[in-house]
Structures are given as structure tokens and as C-alpha cells.
């Protein structure tokens, strides 16, 4: 398939991920949406890497996956820690600032 097809899929997936980040209430779902965004980016990276015949894109993608893992781990640890004190995983309930 031509590269542009993959790019369009990547764009759509990224948009789906963004909507999830902006609209959902449960912090875990938000984190998952962030993973979607990262995955979309990885897809685009690999598509262009194939088009250019350059494997550096693959290396970069490896790093992206590692980063996603690290970020997910720490993010989930925070969620657990907050849950322990506040007994909630909803973003609008952990807001202390008076808006």
C-alpha cells in the first residue's frame, strides 16, 4: 500500500486518541488514549521509514515504545497513589484549585 494510506490511518488514530484525552473522565482511559496517540506516531514513523528505506526510523520506534512503557509505568503509579488517598480515578474529582 502506498505510504499515504498509512499516514491517513495514523492521522485518524491520533485524532481518536486526542478526543479520548480531552473528553474522558476516567484517568486510566485518558492514559490509554495517550498510548493510542503514541502508537499513531509510531505508525507514521515506520511508514516513512519504509518509504525512505532507512532503518533509523525503526530504531526511533523502538525508543518510542520504551518511552511509552516508562511513561505508562510512572503514570499508573501516580494513579495508584492518588487513588489510595482520594479513592477516586476521576479527573474532575482530584482538582484542588478553586476555579
Amino acid at each position: 500500500m502506498p505510504t499515504y494510506a498509512y499516514i491517513l490511518v495514523s492521522l485518524a488514530l491520533f485524532f481518536i486518541g486526542t478526543s479520548g484525552v480531552l473528553l474522558r473522565r476516567n484517568v486510566l482511559i485518558v492514559l490509554m488514549s495517550v498510548e493510542l496517540q503514541l502508537a499513531a506516531g509510531t505508525l507514521a514513523l515506520l511508514a516513512f521509514s519504509r518509504a525512505l528505506g532507512d532503518q533509523k526510523g525503526h530504531v526511533f520506534a523502538v525508543f518510542v515504545i520504551a518511552l511509552a512503557a516508562a511513561e505508562a509505568a510512572v503514570g499508573l503509579a501516580i494513579v495508584v497513589s492518588v487513588f489510595r488517598t482520594r479513592r477516586t480515578a476521576n479527573l474532575d474529582e482530584v482538582n484542588v484549585l478553586k476555579g
Binding site: M1, P2, T3, Y4, A5, Y6, I7, L8, V9, L11, F14, F15, I16, T18, G20, L22, L23, R24, N26, L28, I29, M32, S33, E35, L36, A39, L43, L46, F48, S49, R50, A51, L52, G53, Q55, K56, H58, V59, A61, V62, I65, A66, L67, A69, A70, E71, A72, A73, V74, L76, A77, V79, V80, S81, F83, R84, A89, N90, L91, D92
Partner: protein, 187 residues
Amino acid sequence: MNLAAHTTTLAETIAFAILSAGVLAGGLMTITRRNPVSAVMSLVLTFAALAGLFATLSAHFLAVLQILVYAGAIMVLFVFVVMMVNREETTPIARLGLVVRAAGVLAAGTVFYRVAWLVARERAMPLLAATAPPPVVGFGTVSSVGALLFSDFLFPFEAISLLLLVAVVGGVMLTRHLRENRSSRIP
């Protein structure tokens, strides 16, 4: 730049269609499920389909990596935490500042629309029209990617391992039981 022309076979097209449908459907399901467990499962489906897409892109090493690390480790982590924090949402979409956030989604939508339009317009461009896998032997295999990792990209590789160490330490620090430590309280 190897942009050899290659007519896409029917099989390739069908495979791409099924796999992309899976990715997009999985993504949509992830963000629309009320039950976090269902969302996790949808995400796993998404990653599986995505791995398939990686394979069609001759990124074999990464396809496997995706399954092993993402679908395997990260999603398991998510499942654990979801089990711990399992509460079904009464209202999936937060009420707070909904207008602003919906406007943000729309704005993001316009941006993506424009980029998509641009891509679609310019699809005849060589970069965007390339279809054939490059003739380099072993493109996207473990050995070739690994060779790059341990030669040109050794330093980032090591740095990433350090990053993972940091993440591990952070995770442990953040989730320590408060009763156990008096000297280092987590605010």
C-alpha cells in the same frame, strides 16, 4: 532513497483494509467504553491489529516488539491497575468545562483535516506514493535493527535503559505504603 515502483496486490490491499479497520475500530472502542476493563481489552485488540500493520510495512522486529512489550507488558500493567481501581463511570465524559474541551476537539479536528487534505492532495508525491519494500536485505529484521542499535545508537540505547531504571524507581517510590516510611513522605 529506494522508491521502486510496485503494484499493490489485491491481497495486500485486503490485508491493509482489515488491519486498519481493526486499528481504528479498536481505538474508537477504547475511548468509548464505560467499563475500563472493556477499554483495556479494546486497546489490546488495537495493538494487535497495529502489529499486523507494522508487519505489512516490513517492520518485523517492531511488530514482534509491539506484541511483546505493548500488548504483553504494558497492557498487563494497565489490567492490574484497572482491577485495583475498578469503578464504572457514571458519566464517562466529564462535565467540567465541556464546552471548552469540545471546542478543543473540534479545533484539533480542523488541524487534522487540513493535514489529511494536504496528504490526500499530494498523494502522487514520490515519498507518499511509495509502495515497494526496499531492496535492502533484512530490512526491518532483528539483526539489522539490532546492529544499528548497538553501533550508531548505542548511547541512546543506554540512555533509554537508564530511563527505564528511573521509571522503575519512580514507580516503586510512588506506590510505597505510607505506613512503612517515616522519613520520606510522599505528598
